[in-house]
Symmetry: C3
Subunit: 206 residues, 3 copies
């Protein structure tokens, strides 16, 4: 369990750092600006979660997270100059980071003994906040708030994890893997077929 989440964590950090550099590339930021954006995207969600829970921020006593995000940032920075990076890759990498971080966030909060409601809310926050900041800083409309199913995918994954965890019949590793797959499939399906949840509309306003 610990092991699986440890590797997922590293993957989440790396793919989110990569999306930060892709966003920086679209805005033609410089190397260090791109690395800053990579680090903020990769660590933003977990940082907010830990600050709200009032536990030590996860990268504060273990700086390999920051090194991983920075090095991924530098490597990606030079990579995207020589490789053809399809736009859709940003979305797919973001979906992987989302799935992994929602599950890690929800797990961590459950393990701290908080209620299922709080675990789901904090899980969604962990998964979505880094990308939200990335989009805000890069001046894009946050993915979280666009029409494609994004918050919905995160909520579903967190809810599945909380339910399976409460039923207690499956081993923790399997529960985590299922919740990651649920989040990822919903998000990728939404991207693939342009699905969307009901849209807010006004009856009439003036």
């Amino acid at each position: 369990m610990e092991q699986l989440l440890f590797w997922c964590d590293l993957i989440g950090i790396a793919v989110f750092a990569f999306t930060g550099v892709l966003a920086a590339g679209h805005k033609q930021m410089d190397l260090f600006g791109a690395v800053v954006l990579a680090c903020v995207t990769a660590t933003g969600g977990g940082t907010l979660r830990d600050m709200i829970l009032n536990v030590p921020v996860f990268w504060l006593h273990d700086s390999h997270y920051l090194w991983l995000a920075s090095i991924t940032g530098v490597v990606s920075f030079y990579l995207i100059r020589y490789l053809q990076v399809p736009m859709r890759l940003l979305m797919t990498a973001d979906a992987m980071g989302l799935a992994v971080f929602v599950v890690i966030g929800t797990q961590k909060v459950l393990a701290l003994g908080h209620s299922p409601t709080i675990a789901i809310v904090m899980g969604v926050m962990t998964g979505t906040f880094g990308g939200l900041i990335r989009d805000l800083l890069a001046g894009d409309i946050p993915l979280l708030l666009r029409r494609e199913i994004y918050a919905t995918a995160a909520l579903s994954g967190a809810a599945v994890l909380v339910l399976l965890d409460a039923s207690g019949t499956l081993p923790g590793e399997l529960v985590a893997a299922i919740a990651i797959l649920v989040t990822l499939s919903i998000r990728l399906a939404a991207l693939r077929w342009n699905l969307s949840a009901p849209i807010a509309r006004f009856g009439k306003h003036g």
Copy 2:
């Protein structure tokens, strides 16, 4: 006192959640995006206040705040499809949330034994931060920073509360009610008559 503030708190949560959904409606977000924006708007100010004060975040051990914001969010989401919602309603609801949260924030910080300066600053922050994030996320110019008297209304309400509290002649409930009315009247008057405080201008620049 406790009672009054308890109800005001719930009203503040609900009206700010409603403004979040209205903002989401203008951007045609989907249901869950709208609910996320409702929750962030409703809880953002108090969350930042508690994080800065290093006290437990108010919704962490009492999840009815999140439920109230979410349910208000869902109900508003469907409501605005069938009802005529005048644009001005967003401003009025926002003014109510502002007034209530400024007073609750200031009270809470005074009760924790901080100085009047800090109480006023944190009160203004509690009242304005949720709406600020809402506007930032929805890509609007924050109300806080527009010309209409907004920060001024919040500052006045917090200052009145601190002054009346220091004089100690009136019961706490009355003090809170007066401060809420002061904030609300200034803000609504500014909206009604297009009042504005002095505007920043450059003598000349090149």
Copy 3:
């Protein structure tokens, strides 16, 4: 040492507050909106640093920081109406605030016993976050993320400080002064000659 950093701190607060008002002036905000922006710019970096480190936020028990930011805000607000303020002044004042706060932030984190990596990261954060929020709130593209060398200057200053501090041969005051000069010179040189670090580019994408 203490003394030097104390004065630098006050200068940093004042120049960042000034840049907040200049940004407010460009958007024609009102007096209190400008003061709010001044305070957020002046205290934002240190506030985030202290929240992440879980130490008391620096202005919470010492309200002269807020008074200094507010009074600087009010004075600047009226000053920029009568004086010719060249646009370049915003950049120069911002560079001074950046240099001072990067060094103060790095010092504070080293003094708390954190690793050099964390000290550098938190130093950069302390120096850049206030201006980042200012730019976000004013609806500008953050200076931090533009092409001109900004994050690079902050990183260099923090790294120089950590290296000189580790070598232990120079007195603390001198180390701080050198690191401030390094940050300031790199940033001002970048502004003067339009220098830029390597820019993120896509090989090709579709």
